[in-house]
């Protein structure tokens, strides 16, 4: 196995390590993104949740937009990850979230990465295989904790790898 592939396999092997339930409802082979405004940030055990309002996604259901929910690892797991904290995200923050979608098509999924105001990247790993593969490469330890983002941010714009 080539080192790069081995390292990636190692990273991917972490999967949904700290989920406290099955991740079967999420399609971890897909990585999608959506942008919106933070409505709630729940920094809790057993899962941190980010709720965002996506303007115009379903205007007939909610004039202000549609509310999407994303499950992230528990606060205790994110505690070691850079940039995460109880106040990392606040109501009104502009975010883009990369996630593995719910298989049933509802608006939400298993969150992997949050780009905050186009200036800061938060890695909610280990979560969502496809997003880890698409957006991250292993850091020195090979673990999600010091993984390196392959997203580039330029003048608030997100450039995907």
């Amino acid at each position: 196995m080539k080192p790069r592939i081995a390292a990636l396999a190692s990273l991917l092997a972490f999967g949904t390590a700290h989920a406290h339930h099955s991740a079967a409802m999420f399609d971890s082979t897909k990585c999608e993104s959506v942008s919106g405004t933070v409505r709630n940030f729940q920094w809790v055990y057993p899962h941190t949740w980010v709720w965002i309002v996506v303007p115009g996604a379903n205007a007939s259901a909610d004039a202000a937009g549609d509310i999407w929910g994303f499950e992230f690892p528990p606060s205790g797991s994110l505690a070691l990850a850079p940039n995460w904290s109880r106040t990392a995200l606040e109501k009104g923050d502009k975010v883009t979230i990369y996630y593995s979608p719910l298989r049933d098509g509802r608006h939400g999924g298993l969150g992997n990465t949050v780009v905050l105001s186009g200036t800061r990247i938060l890695h909610g790993a280990p979560n969502a295989f496809a997003c880890d593969e698409k957006l991250w490469k292993p850091g020195p330890s090979g673990s999600p904790i010091d993984a390196i983002s392959t997203l580039k941010l330029e003048n608030g714009r997100i450039i995907e790898p």
Binding site: T16, A17, R39, Y45, G69, G142, I145
Partner: protein, 247 residues
């Protein structure tokens, strides 16, 4: 003491009591309160816990040397999409919760170390030289019966009396009355704690399961446990009802 009319015996007994008293009053050599290591604060498990994830169904990435019988049990549990205890807000127990990624706190009190976990579980480790309770006297528990002693700055913990159904967060791996865990807790450096463990059980393990987990001290105040079954996820579905806007 009841008078026996035998002064010599009473005297000897009193001396013995005094000796015991003195022994108890003096800082016991293996757990002097002033010389215990500093494990204050909050601890988060590092990459070693990611590797032991439930995603590998308690296999620790293939490092758990299960017997054929238990390999089959785990395969069956996997086929049945068995959920772990935590999916139902039940305790993960020993040692599952310690590799689950929840925060830990260590409390030292005389003759006891207590570990408090972020999900509300509590593990009591007695360091007063007591013996294990007889298995038949134990109530089924998630944490087991833990007796510890200090070897210098290392806490050595011996645990038996595992409950049915919490081994490695369950997944069909049921502990037996022979399941035995020995852990050695020691600081690697100021902010890194290592726990070297050996788990044995002739029915479950073909050879001793030897593993180490690492923890890092983090500047976080632990919150109250929030686990509520049905709080956003229920088994294999997920509740997308958003919380109140101001929560």
């Amino acid at each position: 003491m009841r008078a026996t009319g035998k002064p010599a015996l009473a005297s000897a007994s009193a001396a013995c009591s005094l000796l015991l008293l003195a022994s108890a009053a003096a800082p016991a050599a293996n757990h002097p309160a002033t010389k215990l290591p500093d494990w204050s604060g909050t601890w988060a498990c590092d990459d070693s816990c990611f590797q032991a994830s439930e995603d590998s169904f308690g296999t620790d990435q293939g490092r758990v040397p299960l017997t054929p019988k238990y390999l089959a049990l785990r395969a069956q549990a996997r086929a049945n999409r068995a959920q772990q205890n935590l999916s139902f807000c039940l305790p993960a127990g020993t040692p599952g919760i310690q590799q689950h990624g929840v925060l830990h706190e260590f409390l030292f009190t005389p003759d006891r170390v207590t570990i408090i976990f972020e999900d509300g579980e509590i593990r009591r480790i007695y360091t007063d030289h007591r013996a294990h309770r007889p298995l038949k006297e134990m109530t089924a528990s998630f944490m087991g019966d833990s007796i510890g002693h200090w070897e210098g700055q290392t806490l050595v913990v011996d645990t038996i009396g595992f409950p049915k159904g919490s081994l490695f967060q369950n997944y069909g791996l049921t502990a037996t009355l022979q399941t035995h865990l020995v852990e050695r807790y020691h600081l690697k450096d100021k902010d890194h704690l290592l726990v070297d463990s050996v788990m044995t059980d002739p029915a479950i393990f073909a050879s001793p399961y030897i593993y180490t987990r690492g923890y890092k001290r983090v500047p976080i105040t632990m919150d109250e446990p929030q686990c509520r079954y049905g709080n956003h996820d229920t088994g294999e579905s997920v509740d997308l009802t958003p919380p109140p806007e101001d929560e």
